[in-house]
């Protein structure tokens, strides 16, 4: 479990980092927190010839809340920093709630949101949360920059819309509308484990207590984080009664495509999705009040 030989570059600016990545292309990988990349290298599953270390690059780790309640997070912001950021906790409480279930404190101290999303593990919590929050990603390369919606970013297991010379630079979250509530719920075998099933729920109600919008997304539910638009739509106009929740849960179970793992059969994962979707929605609804 020792990595194959590699060259290591430690640029100090984004431009330098992008130039290195453009130069080495397929042979190079960005090194963020290293919590996924380094184990893969030790297993020799990943054998990049070049590492472009982002840890010394200035200005990639800012976390800022806008006047409108929007939130921008630099790709190199550590998961622990986001979890403890007072503004972020207030503007998008589901971030801290979900991050609390991502690995263990030691891993969150090193791991970054940008690394987590670029890694695109379908069992990972944050990609699903990004779908539920309708996040947009700022992507940069030596050629320029572009923005991609979360829904277009995750293409498959460990596969994203990033081109070989591109870096995920920033995560942009729109503000939550008034009277919105969010909840993250997951079932994992042990604390800090990848979830067997996880559900992000975002609900908004009007002044009369009628549901006006819902966004739902699951992790460990298919090749990418899986949104459940039909289940979400079924709740708009309701008061999220038990019967409404049961119907939405049934729809959600049809919208996902869990593949099973050594910990859980696909049938059990689907069952869990229904159970915890209903629970997460009920919690989010309460919080929206």
């Amino acid at each position: 479990m020792k990595p194959a030989p590699f060259d290591w570059h430690a640029p100090e600016s984004v431009a330098e980092a992008l130039a290195l990545k453009a130069r080495h292309g397929e042979d190079a990988r960005f090194l963020a927190g290293g919590q996924s990349l380094v184990p893969a290298m030790n297993f020799r599953i990943a054998q990049p010839a070049v590492l472009v270390d982002l840890n010394r690059v200035a200005g990639l780790d800012a976390i800022a809340v806008g006047a409108d309640g929007s939130l921008t997070i630099g790709a190199m912001a550590r998961n622990a920093a986001i979890e403890r950021h007072a503004g972020a906790v207030k503007s998008h409480p589901i971030l801290a709630e979900a991050l609390h279930e991502v690995a263990h404190p030691q891993v969150r101290n090193r791991g970054t949101l940008g690394g987590n999303l670029s890694h695109a593990d379908p069992a990972s919590e944050m990609p699903a949360v990004m779908l539920a929050l309708a996040a947009r990603f700022l992507i940069r390369s030596a050629r320029g920059e572009r923005q991609v919606a979360a829904a277009e970013f995750f293409l498959g297991p460990l596969t994203t819309a990033l081109e070989l010379d591109e870096m995920l630079a920033e995560i942009r979250l729109p503000p939550l509308p008034p009277r919105s509530g969010t909840a993250w719920l997951e079932i994992a075998r042990r604390r800090g484990e990848y979830a067997m099933m996880g559900v992000a729920a975002v609900v908004t109600r009007d002044a009369a207590g009628i549901c006006t919008a819902v966004r739902l997304a699951c992790c460990s539910a298919g090749p990418t984080p899986m949104a459940a638009p039909k289940a979400a739509a079924s709740l708009v106009g309701t008061k999220l009664t038990d019967a409404d929740l049961a119907q939405a849960a049934a729809l959600l179970k049809q919208e996902i495509a869990p593949t099973g793992s050594v910990q859980a059969s696909p049938a059990y994962q689907r069952h869990l999705a229904g159970v915890i979707a209903a629970r997460a929605l009920a919690t989010a609804w309460e919080r929206a009040a």
Partner: protein
Amino acid sequence: METRQIGRPLTRNEDPRLLTGRALFVDDVELPGMLHAAFLRSPHARAAIRSIDTDAAKARAGVVAVITAEDLGEYWQPGPLLVPPPPIKGMVFRQRCQVPLAKGEVRHVGEPVVMVVAESRYVAEDAVGDIVVEYEPLPPVIGLEAALSSDSPRVHADLPDNIAADVHQAKGDYAAARAKAAHLIRRRFTYDRGASNPMETRGIVAQWDHKAEKLTVWDTTQAPVFIRNGLAAMLGLSERQVRVVAPFIGGGFGPKMMMFYPEEVLVPWMALRLDRPVKWIEDRLEHFTATTQERSQVHDCELALDARGKILGVRDDFLMDTGAYNPYGLTVPLNSQCTLLNCYDVPAYDSRFRAIYTNRTLVTPYRGAGRQHGIFVMERMLDAAARELGLDRAEIRRRNLIPADAFPYHNELIYQDFAPLTYDSGNYAPILDKALHAIGYAEFAAEKAKARAEGRHLGLGVVCYVEGTGIGPYEGAKVRVQASGKVTLATGVGTQGQGHFTSFAQVVAEQLGVDVRDVEVTTGDTDVFDWGAGTFASRGAVVTGSAAHGAAVEVRTKILKTAAEHFECAEADLVLADGAVSIAGVPENRITLGELARLANPMRGAVKPGTVPGLEATSYFGPQMGATAAGAHAMVIEIDAQTMRPTILRYVVVHDCGTVLNPLILSGQIQGGVAQGIGNAFFEELVWTDDGQLLNASLADYLLPTALDVPRMDVLHTETPSPLNPLGTKGAGEGGAIPVGALFAQAIEDALDLPARGIEVSEIPLSPSRLWEICNPSG
């Protein structure tokens, strides 16, 4: 100072070193010029090796040697049969032991094929990647029942089938018992078993000192003396030329008792040939397939009872996966076969097992060593019987416990130590009663109903177990009083966290009237003490403890004799306490142990004929048979009936291991055992594909219980001394782990009222996913 040392809850002598990082582990050994080994291991469960091309590896800078089976010449030999089978009439036993490097055919994923030695582990692993082996994959033997079919492929082509052993043992007349039974219960159980995954994986460092002509080997083995003797024989060296040191070891649990692992054979040989030190530290990935495991049994059991629920007899037939080789003989299945009888009076028993070769990693004992399989079967059968008879589950157990006046109790089988299976002493009813009381058994029905009214599912489990411990052959101990007055104790067993540096010190201090902190214990260094067998089968406290006691008693006699001569008084008038001898009633007439040690080792005059110098003695202890410990575990769990996630609310252990040497250490042993039991019952599972690939060979996917998953537990004791040794003690190393599977199964059934739904839990491990499938067979 307290005069009694045995039974005191002392913190451990070794902990300051361990906690401040000053204890030596194998990987801490760094030597000038040291080389590093890595292995190319089979990626196939079964394949023919067509060719091996090592040219590119040899050409890589920094590579010193690349070795295949062919290169080993005469040194290539299958490993020894560690534990020959006991003389059981009519049994079949076919030995096939592991080889240093595969030749011609690979028989399990992880089997070593090529050894690389290089200037660093990095380079060694790079070179492993350079080697090209041409394999012809062959259909592997994986499933136990499939392995028995006549058209199954064979793990060992030279054997007629995959049967490694076929053993039948009986007690009484089961057919007659069955004929008069009022109730017959029949069930099938499967019990899978994981890997022990000690915190420290295996490792070995070997150094040849050509000036001293001496080989030193640091090894994570549980049996340094055997390794020393075996290496000397294999390498053609005298035993004095080989020193094996088993320093501090981060957990053993049985698999480090296996001998000889291929790496143990190869690393010292390489060090000799290259005349440079060689280190190999197993990584976790290697550990998952190259270190022995314990697993898979399938039992078909029948229980015959009279109308009152008294057991008349048991018939059991089981298959057991022994992996690709069986160097450990029949230890695991015999433990299962014998321990199935548990703490109950079973007049008739008819048991057959077949051990099956498969293309999976070798099976050797791991904490519990097959006992949990037997306990699971018996305890599950009693739960089923209680339901069928409408009896309370505690009551059916109580009615069948061996009565206190029936000891020694003969089970008429042959145990793994070749001795008849006889329980030396026991008093089981108070154990069960104590456990029931502590868990709140009488009040539980009301507690459960109240929780259910709130939509919560609570379940209780209570099970009994026995643990055969303290088997032979023997251990030895050497005790010496130094001129400083401090005492040394040396023994041959290795130590892997059991607290030997303290519990053995207590045994010695008890006799010599010294502070326990002043007894310095050396274990696992063959240059210091080189007789003995090793640390396994919960035998350290019993066998080594008794040897230490014997040596300390002899030294005490010498101390008193020397002091009596010094004071010119009778020994009976002397008091030995606080590190000195004084004359009773005249405390100022006092001589320290250090001064006495100097008197016993004079520079002038002569040591009298027939006596030996020094205050020193060596003693050996070999028990006539094992001592049987017993206990009961009880727990209350809450389970989320929708997600199937259980939470343990209360956990009680009542344990009887005879005389308690140190209750703190004992409690640690039990809690660690329960933690592993919880892992085994709930978290841990080796998931293999049909073609013999292990799907979860990492700690990310093979789930060990963490501190958050192991509950606080109430550990209570009863003390029924063993008559088999001078301390009256019994082993306690495995009891914590043994009954947990049976306990989980019962508690889960109770919480979800499964029997009322026609569902029983008859397998371990039980993941939430698996439990959900059991409860929802149609998905």
